[in-house]
């Protein structure tokens, strides 16, 4: 598992907010973007899925996506299109949506959490690892780098993003850390 060693220190008492009504929930295979500084985006129960946060501190714009599978090709055959389900189509959608709100590539801070494995050693499908590989590919093509990462492990993760500050926090049953 790789993660930022920084504990959520200053401000940890108030972020993430305890009042659930302040949270904009991003469901599995969904994404949300915002330029409202009051918004806190959150996505729950990341297993092998990944939660990608993007934030432009200058434009005050951010977004969060919860992708389940790496590639849209093949997997979606015979099903209704839900592009945010996949890393390859979803992350592009997320990027375009924050650019539409005024974010710029130069200022964009991208972070990721999730990509966990089931408890048993076999981890036969390696979906989490593949989600990260495809994310890196997409970011590389778009000249973006990961500024924070909390991936792997066997425990589910929750990710919060503050639109006001860009603070991204990942919470597992054992700990809470800044991304």
């Amino acid at each position: 598992m790789s993660s930022s060693p920084t504990q959520a220190g200053i401000g940890a008492a108030t972020f993430p907010p305890t009042d659930r009504s302040q949270l904009q929930i991003v469901g599995i295979s969904e994404f949300k973007v915002s330029n409202d500084p009051n918004d806190v985006l959150v996505t729950y129960s990341l297993g092998s899925c990944i939660g990608v946060t993007v934030h432009d501190p200058i434009a005050g714009v951010g977004g969060l996506i919860h992708c389940m599978l790496p590639l849209s090709k093949g997997a979606r055959e015979g099903s209704a299109p839900k592009p945010a389900m996949f890393v390859d189509t979803g992350v592009i959608l997320l990027l375009n949506a924050v650019f539409d709100l005024g974010a710029t590539r130069q200022n964009l801070v991208v972070k990721v959490a999730g990509a966990g494995s089931p408890m048993d050693q076999c981890n036969r499908f390696r979906i989490g690892e593949r989600n990260i590989v495809i994310l890196r590919k997409i970011l590389w093509k778009n000249e973006l780098m990961l500024a924070g990462e909390h991936t792997g492990g066997t425990r589910p993760k929750t990710v919060f993003l503050s639109i006001a500050t860009g603070q991204a926090v990942v919470r597992t049953p054992e700990e809470q850390t800044n991304l």
Binding site: S29, S45, G47, S79, C122, I127
Partner: protein, 286 residues
């Protein structure tokens, strides 16, 4: 001190489900059921009739014209779907409550159950195994035992979690070690007390250990086992137990699913989940 007897006692204190619903499930399992008898049995319970018709007319089944009679619903959807509708009417209200102990908010257990049911059905289609409709129904009730187990063993849950996560033990084994019973057995005992058929009871009982399931029901138990593993892996239906369940190597080898098939199964499951919530949930029916 939480123990097995307390869980069993809590199961015995559950309100019974309507006798006509149990009778219906039994009728629906009979491949030679007389449609007239079935219609009569359902119409004895007007609330159930409304629920079955609402399910039959929901978008997931794509009915071209409105289905207004139980007989038509049965002809169009088949026994498996009607059985799932009857079961959702029976257990849906209980499964939509927050589940204490497992920290599952309201609707989370039911949403997880629907995801497992859909994934079980997809796996049945992909492997050419048991009839997909039957597989769906079995998947629907798989974790119903968590409702009672979580409530009774609430104070023990953090200890169970520590044992599972700390010792790398499958969560249901940690439940067994500390309480003397796990949620799967508690669920099976609930369903037995309600008089549901053996085919459903056995699948629920052995969904974490499908090799222990009686041979005649094992193919469905294996599909449910695999479906739950996949749904849990992507975070569907997880609570305090956090998908900390072991999977059977033998089952996955036997099913022979490619990574593409697995991803397609998950994609189909999630794509249908909203429609399934509408069809088998209760919020749009009252």
């Amino acid at each position: 001190m939480t123990n097995r007897d307390q869980v069993l006692e809590a199961v015995q204190q559950l309100p019974p489900i309507p006798v006509d619903a149990c009778e219906l499930v039994r009728l629906l399992q009979d491949p030679e059921v007389d449609p007239a008898e079935l219609e009569r049995a359902i119409s004895l319970n007007p609330a159930l009739t409304t629920h079955v018709l609402a399910t039959a007319n929901s978008a997931i089944f794509g009915a071209r014209a409105e289905i207004s009679t139980v007989r038509r619903a049965w002809l169009q959807l088949g026994s498996g779907r009607i059985q799932a509708a009857v079961m959702s009417a029976m257990v849906g209200p209980m499964a939509c409550e927050p589940v204490e102990g497992y920290s599952l908010p309201g609707d989370a257990l039911w949403e997880g159950a629907l995801a497992i049911a859909l994934a079980t059905e997809e796996l049945a289609l992909k492997t050419g195994g048991p009839p997909p409709n039957e597989a769906f129904t079995a998947g629907l009730l798989v974790d119903i035992g968590k409702t009672v187990f979580g409530q009774v063993a609430q104070t023990k849950m953090s200890e169970i979690a520590d044992l599972a996560f700390g010792g790398n033990i499958s969560f249901e084994k940690a439940e067994e070690q500390l309480v003397g019973i796990n949620h799967a057995e508690a669920g099976a005992i609930m369903l037995e007390a309600w008089g549901l058929p053996e085919s459903i009871i056995q699948v629920v009982r052995w969904h974490h250990e499908p090799e222990m399931c009686p041979e005649e029901f094992r193919p469905i138990a294996e599909l449910v086992h695999a479906a739950q593993y996949l749904c849990g892996m992507v975070g569907l239906g997880n609570g305090e137990d956090g998908n900390y369940y072991a999977s059977s190597e033998a089952v996955f080898n036997r099913l022979g699913l490619s990574p593409d098939a697995i991803e397609n199964c998950l994609c189909q499951t999630l794509s249908k989940l909203d429609l399934a919530r509408e069809a088998f949930g209760l919020e749009k029916k009252s």
